[in-house]
Symmetry: D2
Subunit: 342 residues, 4 copies
């Protein structure tokens, strides 16, 4: 079948390549003409505008939007609303807030255009490994676009079958799932990313504990009323090989996971992680997961702590730290002792 | 080669079977004679006491201790100290505190007995998948016992090779690693389990958020000064299929991991998890990881939050909750409103 | 001057009494006629409807709305919008979301009615101690209503003057403050309550640690692979007198505070807090504070942890706990061990 | 009566002055001779060594040790053990680990010397406000030294009597309490400080949320896939007067407390807290409280989060942040975007 793709960044380009490999046709557009040309060489049909893209697709058109969430997604969908026809399908595959997907679906429904929201996990590796797809919205649109989802997903062979499942292979066993009505796909992807925040933070905190396991030999015990006396320096004498440790966790261990695989790869390249500054962006989904937990009244201490650590990595805790320092000065006359400089 | 195994519970028995499969000999002991007989049928040599086990091993003996951490491990090692000879090797493969391993190593060293501490991950699946082994202690003992470790580990084929690694396959790529001097193995395993706590909590919190995504339709908005007004019930109308969602995350997703595989399997059996009460034990390593983080001065908000959630699952937060309720009553005259009964 | 009060619950009734004591006139309304009569005996003018209340006030009217946040506040303000005239003043003194205050102010502004949002802290003790008032909205309205705020606030003598402040006494030194435009009052009150959540949780967690300081004598050390070995029972042999401890913290200590005063009082009445179940409601402001922190990108681990503990007190963590238990069963064959029953 | 004081830092000197004011005699020692002379001018008897101090006291001697916890406290108590006699009393008034107090008490008991551990709260303000004293150890020693404790404590008039208490005034109502056997005083003080950490963090996080309430006007909305789209900039337009807000919370509010008083004073001096860097030391008691919670199995999410924030203020989260950044680079090709520089 035929797929239109708007947005040819890291994710969009890989989606197109994987769809092409499966034998489907792709009509593509991006503001960056080099990105378009690159995919034309890979077999896609290039266009110079969204209007041209729409005109080159046969009805019912299937247009996948893969641009930054928020204002840009909104404007692309608004433009499509004026170009498409009743029965056409728009797929928002980016990290949009699920509430935006609900609103977009309602707007497009007014013109008879069907919308799907598709949470897409797999990162830059999706081309090779396939993408995990969480889809919400109109069921008929989902059925129509299913060949595309099947082409993008890793397929059933990517993992052993879960014990207790038998009979025909379900879509979720191939790596894609219709989760529910509009917004359900992005909602599930949002929570998926919240879990991702928590898992990444768990691994990273563990590595930090291993990294500091040598303080009994590297740090001098300071003796003043301002500093916690070091307890048991004799138990912190380990100089550990982090790249080897991450590697050993890749096989047979309970924490075995793709994140540990990637950590092992990163540590081979930069064993002390000096290639990184430690500024961790957050692109919305962690925040929204935390807000959903709050609005549902669900405790999510791990996920919210992981989110807070990302904020703090960008020094957004500084004013609070100063306030604590100010109180200590006021009640105890405590002067500040410098921390490690960053 | 020949291995002695003391303790034939779930873990110990599987270790023996895997070693036997690799063509080594095993002499085994457990207080439970049925456990011994079962392994004798599988090809092991059974014994009725630790002394008999020691007598059936050829020097230099290699004795693996796989019993509950703490008092029992301590008494078994003390008994071995009286039975073994200089040059023999004791391996503590349980979830002992690494500080105990340091002490045991010192005690045994006095008699010339070499000790290894071996963190063993893989659970009841280790027989089939192999175990991930984190080893500390005497290097010569490690070298002598390496064939056993190699037999237990999953082997290099269990995962794709990490990009950037080439040349000869390192032990960690097969699934076992000598991490450092006495205690280093249990230290690394301890942190591994701390990470495990965090990852498990992240997945579980995410599932809870998905589970409650229908409160906009299932809960009545109550209107009194005691209750947070429900915000946006229209955005919490999703009745989600959790077994299918866990399954879709198994292929291609960033959070793909063995824990998600197991979650998917558990949800197939009990889609609403009603087979469980929600009491979560902790067996020491999470606590010790949190303590290590504190003593190192390393922030570990995710791991410590995961640990606290386990305590709270056993109602150990109850007195604190009562204290908050008492304060609210005192300052605001607020009466308690019952929560969901457990 | 003259004040109209709608809503005569615990807070509203005390506000009226304090305003009456200061020599002002009050016209009051509540659906509960007994509440109205009680205040009529105290000197207020009673009414049977909001319309009657409006008719008994002299323009420019000042009407304080003290009803549950959300739907009820919204409907009362909507009704007032139809009854009041340009130049009149509406004060929302409840725990409304500050965004609602912004919207209400805009709606009322269309009719020339001025609105103030007033965060009101002090609980049932405000009558005796005075209320702390955080006010947002139209400055001219604030100036007009200032005598009421001054009557309600504790006054400058309620605390020693802050070092570094001199000259004329500022309103904030009397206990009320115009914080900024519409919503600013409720925003500051919201954050105030977020801090309150954190402080209450800190005290309560501390009490719980004291409460369990005797486990070295009261609990048996269990020895199985499922249970963390008790570390150092010899250091947990304290049977502590919590009412006396809370009392000793009331004088001279760094944590001295009204919350500790109230805790001491609660513990005199119920030394083991058995008068309480431990179900802790949340009435919105903690949630909104946490959401504001997320939207601002500010780490707020303590406040969000305190909020999560309240959710968990109502068993909303149950599904997550079951998920962790399910994973443990799957990877390690671990059966659940019951926690303390609640 | 007569008191010996070793250690004349901020705390020790104020203790001596307060005891002198109450009409008792003080014999003092410090390595810093200026500190000794200053107190001699205030009426104390100065000495040049611990031995001289011991010789100038009349048996049964009462010696208060007020030096940094850990090695220094240990060596002073060891020296005293050689100088004092059966029946003498040593009081450790510093922030020692309660387990050290237990050990010191046992050591001194061998020589018939009685020991008290006394947690002392009040900071540099204790001279004026009195100290809150939490005492553990030998009851007869406590009885003998009670006049000193009474002189140091704030006295019953420092706070209104707790409702429900009547009859004779208990020691805890004056500000000192015998909490239990050896270590109980420092244990209670340890938990007190844990609560202090939580309260300070709660206030500071709240201030940070107020501080960033203007991001809707001060920050540009960036539109790329790396950045969370700003939600509702229209609701973050408040430029708030933090010194005034802290002040208004001092009277009548639920969070009214000495910590808020001190915050208000700090903000008058430095309204944007630019006088501080934000490096927050921790001197042991927060760590020990967190460890006690872990060993008791008590969830303490707020107190441990507050502790973690202190570690992070000293950049001890840096390696973990780098690990998260490394994973994001690996799975998504995400480059780091700089945070605010510190």
């Amino acid at each position: 079948m035929q797929l239109g793709m708007i947005g040819l960044g890291r994710m969009g380009a890989n989606l197109v390549r994987r769809v092409l490999c499966a034998g489907h046709d792709c009509v593509v557009y991006d503001r960056d003409t080099v990105a378009v040309e690159t995919l034309v060489s890979a077999g896609a049909v290039g266009t110079e505008s969204i209007a041209e893209l729409a005109s080159k697709l046969v009805a019912p058109r299937v247009v996948w939007v893969m641009v930054p969430a928020g204002v840009i997604t909104h404007s692309v969908i608004a433009e499509l609303a004026g170009l498409l026809e009743g029965g056409d399908i728009v797929i928002d595959g980016g990290n949009s807030y699920y509430r935006d997907a609900v609103r977009h679906a309602e707007e497009l429904a007014g013109k008879g255009i069907r919308m799907l929201d598709c949470g897409t996990s797999g990162g830059v590796w999706g081309l090779a490994r396939g993408f995990s797809l969480m889809i919400g919205g109109d069921r008929s649109a989902y059925a129509a676009a299913e060949p595309i989802f099947e082409a993008l997903a890793p397929g059933v062979l990517a993992a052993e079958r879960t014990k207790g499942r038998d009979g025909e292979v379900a879509p979720e066993e191939k790596g894609y799932l219709h989760c529910g009505p509009s917004g359900a796909g992005h909602f599930v992807k949002m929570v998926h990313n919240g879990i991702e925040y928590g898992m990444m933070a768990a691994v990273s905190e563990g590595l930090n504990i291993l990294h500091r396991a040598d303080i009994g030999v590297t740090e001098t015990v300071s003796e003043d009323a301002e500093t916690a006396p070091m307890t048991h320096p004799e138990f912190y004498r380990y100089v550990l090989d982090l790249p080897a440790i991450a590697e050993v966790w890749r096989r047979g261990s309970v924490i075995g996971s793709w994140l540990v695989d990637l950590t092992a790869a990163a540590l081979v390249e930069s064993p002390d992680l000096s290639a990184f500054e430690g500024w961790v962006s957050d692109s919305g989904e962690g925040r929204w997961t935390a807000i959903a937990a709050i609005e549902e009244g669900v405790p999510a201490p791990v996920i919210t702590a992981a989110l807070g650590s990302r904020f703090a990595s960008r020094n957004l805790n500084e004013f609070a730290d100063k306030a604590v320092a100010a109180m200590r000065k006021k009640f105890g006359g405590h002067d500040e002792k410098p921390g490690a400089t960053r």
